[in-house]
């Protein structure tokens, strides 16, 4: 059994997570400073961490899993154990427990903001987002009806700068080939390219047989790009 730590660098997600932790820690320090009767700082942090524990409702928001906290279970547990023994002590820890519960809503908010910030930083409808780094790209033959060709890396790069996303009629393409009027339209696959750093986006890109079209399959969508010149080199 090999554990696969799938590191993903979703930059907007990381930024927002850091912001939420900074916010929560600052709130905790503010509470601590304002208190006249201070508990041990470690115990305060512990109380906040127990406070996070809650009964919550999980859901997906634009591909991100977020949770809406409903019942402050952690606060309840602390209340039960501390207040029952010592009412004074509960007054000292109460705010930290509730801060923990509040943290759930901070995470909820940043979770809801992530896709919005993501869309500000990356344009999911722009081919260049998926094909940002193409220096090491190559093409491979995936359909034997065409001949092996090589990629023209420099041209791919320049063509991508002013490439146009085009509408297409998938049913017509499909029918033309099934009726043997044409050979497979996309007989090559592109490898070795990278999407914009920090976007954590994946795409599978097929190259059209005349070398002037790219079909970019993303997780949610498909983009068809036409270029002026062929991105494939002549001959083998």
């Amino acid at each position: 059994m090999v554990f696969d730590f799938n590191w993903s660098w979703n930059l907007p997600e990381i930024i927002l997570q850091i912001i939420s932790y900074v916010l929560i820690i600052s709130l905790l320090l503010i509470i601590y400073k304002k208190q006249s009767e201070k508990p041990h700082i470690g115990k305060a942090v512990l109380a906040a961490m127990v406070g996070i524990f809650s009964f919550s409702f999980n859901f997906q928001f634009q591909g991100y899993s977020v949770s809406l906290a409903i019942l402050p279970l952690g606060v309840g547990v602390l209340y039960f154990f501390i207040k029952r023994r010592n009412e004074e002590r509960w007054r000292v820890y109460r705010r930290y427990a509730w801060l923990g519960f509040l943290a759930n809503y901070v995470f909820l908010l940043t979770g809801l903001l992530t896709p919005l910030v993501f869309n500000l930083m990356y344009d999911k409808s722009d081919p260049a987002t998926y094909l940002a780094q193409t220096d090491d790209a190559a093409v491979h033959l995936t359909h034997e009806s065409a001949d092996q060709r090589n990629l023209h890396n420099e041209r791919l790069e320049t063509e991508l700068e002013n490439a146009q996303v085009k509408e297409f009629d998938s049913m017509r393409w499909h029918r033309q080939i099934e009726d043997q009027e044409e050979k497979e339209r996309f007989p090559y696959i592109l490898s070795g390219f990278e999407s914009k750093s920090g976007s954590d986006l994946n795409a599978v890109t097929f190259v059209e047989k005349d070398g002037k079209g790219l079909l970019i399959q993303t997780a949610e969508d498909q983009l068809y790009v036409r270029t002026e010149q062929s991105v494939l080199k002549e001959g083998e």
């Binding site: 359909h143 034997e144 009806s145 998938s170 499909h174 339209r185 954590d200 994946n202």
Partner: protein, 251 residues
């Protein structure tokens, strides 16, 4: 008093940990491949009624896997794959036929896939074209269009040697790796684990055999009827009707 106890416990822990470390790093590996007689016996005991005449070859694959093509008493070609388990060579899977199969050492990692075969000379097959195929398709939902290009990625293999275990074609690995990245959700969703256990259900592995004159042929004597597995995955590669090549305007 308390301090003393702590020091003793720490020391003990240290000794145990170093012991474990030395034991696991210096322990003898699986050693050489098992004797042919032992392999024979093990295969016979797992394939009921099959008697082995000869182990034809012993090929180690990577550090802890091995491939043994064999011939049975009645001339049937078969193959067996072995693995290292608990530092001992253990049978992984066997088949009393030698039809081309994709041996997936780690089903999650296409880099560990091998094509294995052991052909009957009576079938007279010299070359096999292997294809990875995905069906062509299209989807239209409202304004949203998508076209799924057909995949027919070929790898020519000279099989005149009769048997072999060779790494799966690079293009297969590339395709499987790339399509896997889309099959898994971008964000650590709960179904990430689940979907990776069904990598690319739409990719099929096919083969087209040719005789020494380059004519289409069939593998008839090579087919087996008994197989056994002890955890190793050998996916049968399926014969493709050459008519399909014509339909797809290949050749």
């Amino acid at each position: 008093m308390k301090k003393k106890k702590l020091i003793i416990v720490t020391l003990l822990l240290f000794v145990v940990l170093t012991g474990v470390f030395i034991f696991t790093s210096n322990s003898p590996g699986p050693g050489d491949l098992p004797e042919n007689s032992a392999i024979k016996e093990e295969i016979e005991s797992t394939l009921g009624g099959v008697k082995i005449d000869e182990i034809v070859d012993r090929q180690q694959v990577g550090d802890d896997h091995a491939f043994f093509p064999f011939i049975t008493d009645d001339g049937q070609r078969g193959m067996s794959v072995w693995k290292v388990e608990n530092r001992k060579w253990t049978i992984g899977a066997s088949d009393n036929g030698g039809e081309p199969s994709l041996w997936k050492i780690d089903p999650q990692d296409p880099e560990t896939f091998y094509i294995i075969y052991h052909l009957d000379p009576d079938d007279d097959v010299d070359k096999i074209d292997f294809y990875m195929k995905r069906e062509r398709n299209y989807h239209v939902t409202g304004e949203h269009q998508s076209y799924v290009p057909q995949i027919m990625a070929k790898e020519e293999v000279d099989v005149s040697g009769g048997y072999g275990a060779q790494p799966a074609p690079k293009i297969w690995k590339e395709l499987q790796n790339q399509l896997n990245t889309l099959a898994q959700p971008d964000n650590n969703g709960a179904n990430g684990l689940f979907s990776s256990s069904h990598p690319n259900p739409h990719l099929q592995m096919l083969y087209v055999p040719y005789d020494d004159e380059g004519e289409f042929s069939r593998l008839e004597q090579t087919l087996g009827n008994q197989s056994f597995t002890n955890g190793e995955q050998m996916d049968l590669i399926i014969w493709m009707d050459p008519l399909e090549l014509e339909e797809e305007q290949i050749q």
